[in-house]
């Protein structure tokens, strides 16, 4: 399903991909839906450039610049993979979140059970506030 949303300056594209619609776990669905609602609200905040939310069966993507979709997706996926390795190397337990700071912008990757959210934002955006809002 592809839905177009209009913002004041930019056009955001939301894509929801459902691979399994038959009988998904109700609880997982609820967490995913709640996260999606939460992220949609966060996405309206100043400085937030968009988000990617995914679990084993679904994904929601809402980016202000859809051309960066592939780059953002590979970055967040790699960060989560590297996070697992780092966690094993230094025994820091399960990775809760990863903050990737770039020269132009930054990304916050959050793991909540099976759900993985990556929020992209401008460099001066308050990532601690966003983190608090996503996983209070």
């Amino acid at each position: 399903m592809v839905k177009k949303k209009k913002s004041t300056h930019e056009t955001a594209t939301t894509a929801v991909i459902d691979h399994e619609t038959a009988a998904p776990a109700v609880e997982e669905d609820q967490t995913f839906t709640s996260l999606r609602t939460n992220l949609a609200e966060i996405n309206k905040c100043k400085g937030v450039l968009g988000y990617i939310l995914r679990n084993a069966t679904s994904a929601t993507i809402d980016l202000k610049d859809p051309t960066k979709l592939v780059e953002y997706a590979t970055l967040s996926s790699q960060a989560l993979d590297s996070g697992k390795e780092i966690s094993e190397l230094f025994d820091i337990g399960d990775i809760e979140n990863i903050l990737i700071q770039g020269k132009d912008s930054k990304a916050l990757c959050i793991t909540m059970g099976e759900n993985k959210a990556s929020i992209f934002m401008e460099k001066d955006a308050d990532h601690t506030d966003i983190l608090r809002r996503v996983s209070p």
């Binding site: 970055l75 960060a79 590297s82 820091i92 990863i98 700071q101 770039g102």
Partner: protein, 271 residues
């Protein structure tokens, strides 16, 4: 100074940071794919695997303008990899560690040590051939000189080690050292509001460095860039000696917009 000595100075810096922050379990420097200096706790294999994992993210970070730093927050601890000058510093801390304190320490102390090393021997540092091997004792006093200077920044230099005769051997005055000290409150009825008190180990070192030259004032600068020049006195008693402390009256703290527990950079004004 050769690269081994450079790496040795960095390794000492890491160990001193770990002494100040017991919550810091691992720390090492790398550049590209090369481990430049590491603490005792970190083995080569772990460090190399970390670099590989980090480089994998770096390769995919064009979308955010290239990677500056990455922090992994786990349920039991935190791993931070940040670019400092040309090097990447990896720090591993427990969950309880004060992230701001660790970052303040590493992002002030490490650049200062690097700057100091570059200043002492600018031409001889070749990052591409840096190693982590310990240098063998040499006849050249430079190594001792560098280690001493690095330790000044780390507030650990005991007086006995500062008996070098550097000032006599140099016709020109050495550039004033910058010391990072931890702010403490100074109050009392008889306390002058325009005078700070500084760790006597640091002031003794200045005395060793400048001999009979008069040092009546110091420049104090905080991390937020506020500076002031004021009089100073060494802290009396051995209790505070070598602790890297600067006691600042409330009035000067207000001027500098600083408070107890923060870091301040202190430079002697030599006349």
């Amino acid at each position: 100074m050769n690269n081994e000595e450079y790496a040795f100075a960095l390794k000492n810096t890491l160990n001193e940071i770990k002494n100040i922050c017991p919550d810091l379990s691992h720390a090492f420097f790398f550049k590209d794919e090369k481990i430049i200096a590491k603490d005792e706790n970190t083995d080569e294999k772990t460090a190399n695997s970390t670099v590989t994992a980090f480089n994998a993210i770096t390769e995919r970070a064009n979308a955010i303008g290239g990677l500056e730093s990455v922090t992994f927050h786990g349920t039991n601890g935190r791993v931070n990899i940040a670019c400092i000058n040309d090097l990447y510093l990896t720090t591993v801390t427990s969950k309880e560690a004060d992230e701001k304190y660790v970052n303040t320490l590493t992002r002030v102390l490490v650049p200062t040590v690097l700057k100091l090393l570059e200043k002492i021997h600018p031409a001889s540092i070749d990052h591409d051939t840096l190693t982590t091997e310990k240098p063998e004792p040499t006849e050249d006093n430079n190594a001792d000189e560098i280690i001493e200077d690095a330790e000044v920044c780390e507030k650990e230099l005991p007086m006995e080690e500062t008996d070098a005769t550097e000032p006599e051997s140099e016709p020109l005055l050495p550039e004033p050292p910058v010391n990072q000290l931890i702010v403490e409150n100074l109050s009392g009825l008889l306390v002058p509001s325009d005078t700070v008190r500084i760790d006597s180990a640091v002031t003794a070192q200045w005395k060793d460095l400048y001999g009979d030259k008069k040092i009546g004032e110091v420049d104090v600068e905080t991390l937020n860039g506020k500076t002031t020049r004021c009089k100073f006195k060494p802290i009396k008693g051995s209790k505070h000696k070598g602790k890297g402390i600067i006691q600042i009256p409330e009035k000067i703290q207000l001027t500098l917009q600083t408070k107890k527990g923060e870091l301040a950079m202190v430079k002697p004004v030599v006349k």
